[in-house]
């Protein structure tokens, strides 16, 4: 056995070398594809008669440089991160939840309804509100879970289609005073709007150097750390991964697909619903005025899904990615002032998503090819 020791360290050294080579490969791929995305974006701006330098300048002004802007960016990043975390959990169990936009809307509606129904002192009410937001989102995803594990309806379809239903359901609720609609006196000149949350029922706001953001920012980062830990270290996370990678092996090992799968899908919904409730109670950038309106979810659900996709389903990586996407969002308003259509940022966002998805795809194909070469060589 003594002779075995040396080759083992050699092997370790070799594997370390392989790993750093791989890391370099990753970095180069990411750099190239992001550069490519930026280049195409710049070309697009120039082609539509704009000046790419001023567009970039506006993006930076809008997201970080101007007074108070990075606070707004943080505020936008928080719900994105929450949605992304939920997506990561569902994906870990091999489930493709793409209905966050609807789960988020239902979460916000639950938060509105039960927040006003239950009342109570402000600080308690905030917790009630967030909790019911999560419950709403979970129940909405639960519909998809039920269909999936009871009747075998693919969750990709059901979650997506439920987005449309959620939008209509919330709009319907906003037409009835017994549900979500505010009393006539508080409506002002709008006819589909909920009551506004009282000032003591909003998430506390922190202000640093003139940048204000609700504390949901901290909550979401804390959630990211907890989710990352649970997925990486807990038996629950271990079983979830097993289920996602090989459902039959999981079944043999005692992991109930119904139980774990439903839980993962509903947790994904809960996070989206929580994001909706946090948007309602946090107010701030582009999320209305502490009241529910049609179209409240404002694409945060879709974008949060993209965040998880780009972060390749790793909870901690979701944090920086959420920030980048939030910055694109907050910056887009400023782009219009340069004479270029503000929605160019949507295109940039799309290109960035594609760019960030290219390296994993390339690596996947290469790994597969290597693995196949290795197995063919063995047999």
């Amino acid at each position: 056995m003594t002779t075995v020791a040396k080759p083992a360290t050699d092997e370790k050294r070799a594997s370390r070398a392989r790993q750093s080579a791989r890391l370099a490969e990753w970095l180069v791929l990411y750099l190239l594809s992001i550069l490519g995305a930026i280049l195409i974006s710049a070309l697009l701006v120039t082609a539509t008669g704009g000046d790419w330098q001023s567009v970039v300048g506006a993006l930076f002004d809008g997201s970080v440089r101007n007074p108070g802007r990075w606070g707004a960016t943080l505020g936008a990043a928080a719900p994105l991160l929450l949605v992304a975390l939920g997506t990561v959990i569902s994906a870990r169990a091999g489930l493709v939840n793409i209905g966050q936009e609807g789960q988020l809307a239902i979460g916000a509606a639950f938060a509105t309804y039960f927040g006003f129904l239950i009342g109570g002192p402000g600080s308690v009410n905030i917790v009630v509100l967030l909790a019911f937001g999560a419950v709403g989102g979970a129940l909405w995803a639960g519909v998809a879970a039920l269909l999936r594990f009871w009747r075998g309806v693919p969750e990709v379809l059901s979650t997506l289609l439920l987005v449309a239903v959620a939008g209509q359901a919330v709009a319907y609720g906003l037409r009835w005073q017994g549900l979500l609609l505010a009393p006539a006196a508080d409506r002002g000149n709008r006819n589909q709007v909920s009551e506004q949350l009282g000032t003591d029922r909003r998430l506390p706001v922190q202000t640093i150097f003139g940048n204000s953001y609700p504390i949901s920012v901290y909550l979401s980062v804390l959630a990211a750390v907890i989710v990352a830990f649970l997925l990486a270290r807990s038996i629950w996370g271990f079983r979830l991964k097993m289920l996602g990678r090989n459902p039959r092996a999981a079944q043999h090992s005692g992991v109930s697909q119904n139980r774990y799968g439903s839980a993962a899908l509903m947790l994904g919904g809960a996070f989206a619903g929580l994001a909706g409730a946090a948007m309602l109670a946090g107010g701030g950038f582009a999320f209305g005025n502490f009241q529910l309106v049609p179209g409240f979810s404002a694409n945060i659900g879709w974008t949060g899904l993209l965040v998880a996709l780009v972060a390749r389903e790793r909870a901690l990586i979701c944090i920086p990615v959420a920030l980048v996407f939030a910055a694109l969002r907050t910056g887009s308003g400023f782009v219009s002032s340069t004479g270029v259509e503000g929605r160019i940022t949507d295109v940039i966002q799309g290109l960035l998503v594609l760019a960030l998805l290219v390296p994993p795809a390339v690596m996947f194909v290469r790994d597969r090819r290597r693995a196949r070469a290795a197995t063919t060589a063995r047999t």
Partner: protein
Amino acid sequence: MTDNEQLLTGAGEWEFSPAPLVELRGICKNFGAVAACDDVDLSLYPGQIHGVLGENGAGKSTLMKVLIGLVLPDSGTITINGETCTIHDPLDAAAHGIGMVHQHFSLVEPLTVWENVALGDGGKLDPDAVRNRIGELGDAYGLIIDPDARVADLTAGLRQRVEIIKCLRRDPTVLIFDEPTSVLTPDESQQLFKSLRTMVASEGKSVVLVSHKLDEVLRTTDDITIMRQGRVVDRMDTSETTAPELARSMVGREVSLRAERAALGHIELDVATDVVAQPTVTTEPVLTITNANASGPGGQRLLDDLTLEVHPGEIVGVAGVEGNGQRPLADLLSSLLPLDNGTVAVNGNAVSSSAPGAMSRAGIGVIPEDRHDSGVVLEMTVAENLVLVDPQRVAKHGVIDHKKLTRFAEEMIQEFSIQCSGPHAPLWSLSGGNQQRVVLARELADHPKVLVAAQPTRGLDVGAIEYMTDRIREAAASGVAVLLISSELEEILDVADRIVVMSGHRIVGEMPRAGVDLEHLGLLMGGANA
């Protein structure tokens, strides 16, 4: 040995031209760093059955893929009828008169025999002509089959006939058979070999029989090429060699253990000298399956009133032709197949067949037939795969202790000699044999009461087979009730104490190993009534 000598010593009663039909020279093929074929020569003569013998991974399949155009060699030449040519794909090969009957069939089940045979034809379809041709070929080679039968209704042996007819219809001069007997009953194998002999004897075709079983190569071929680790290590005339000599040449060392001989398909079936008659079992059975019925999603029968008992310390071999319910049986004991009715009990306590993991919790360890299907998670590490079933053993308060996990994995890696770069190597980076050891280690780590081993040695090389068989015997010796499901009769005869036969998704017969009646066994496997 030169070609001429081979001609002289070859089976002289068949007429053939002195020139080889097909000649491979210096074929090399590398996959990554591994040489699957290393400077391989092979000559095929008309009127001869040529055996290509070797262990799993010896390069037989790669060589045949070169010949059929599925793999392009890195170097080397192929000469057909004296003409050097390159074979780019199977169509090229067919144009040169080379056809292959693959180990795994590629038939369309809902279609009839003649439809399958005509599949891929261009132009106008003439059903009657196809039917007639099937009849002619059937008569000529003893491959009688009803052209209007649905393939889904056919046994594996008959399906193989369809494959062969598909191949013969193009009138090939060279026919390659890749492990043709793995899905056949002993009787069906005999018939197949008779047909092969007809092909070479009456029409001067050349047949290549690729196999890892000594006995069938000895019985059937005229000359033999033996491969080991990508190289040709020997060429022999079948009439001048013996089983031990072949085995030695194939494995590269003296083969003595019974497990190894069984693995090579060579065992003195009627001389059961070292089989000790088991004392009549008086203990209570550990595993009891009673009247188990299960059906698939389409309503097809998967298990038909199956009843089975396994006692502590006993190895029960489940013999049978593949596809007769062995897989559902293993699935049932892996908590992967809920029963329609019937019961499974361990030590008299009923175990739910629908609750995930219930079988495993009840003390049934399973080495599945296809480990990638339910045995391992390829993307997870070796260590993680070792605790799939019972992560609690390395966890505290629901949180996995990575130090403990690593330590446990290192112990297992040591104890079961798993070759890997470390406990945190992804499972896919391991070879098949070592992946199998991971499964074995995990399933034995829990000290199971019952061990189910489904085709545990398939695809393993001889050394690995010996290891696996030893472990199974050890488990039985320590009191575990072992259920060995195998389509390799030799393996069952080698290891089992008691043999049950599966056919038509049920148990059709049973006999002790000591008093085994091979003819009866073969009949049972073929579906004859007990």
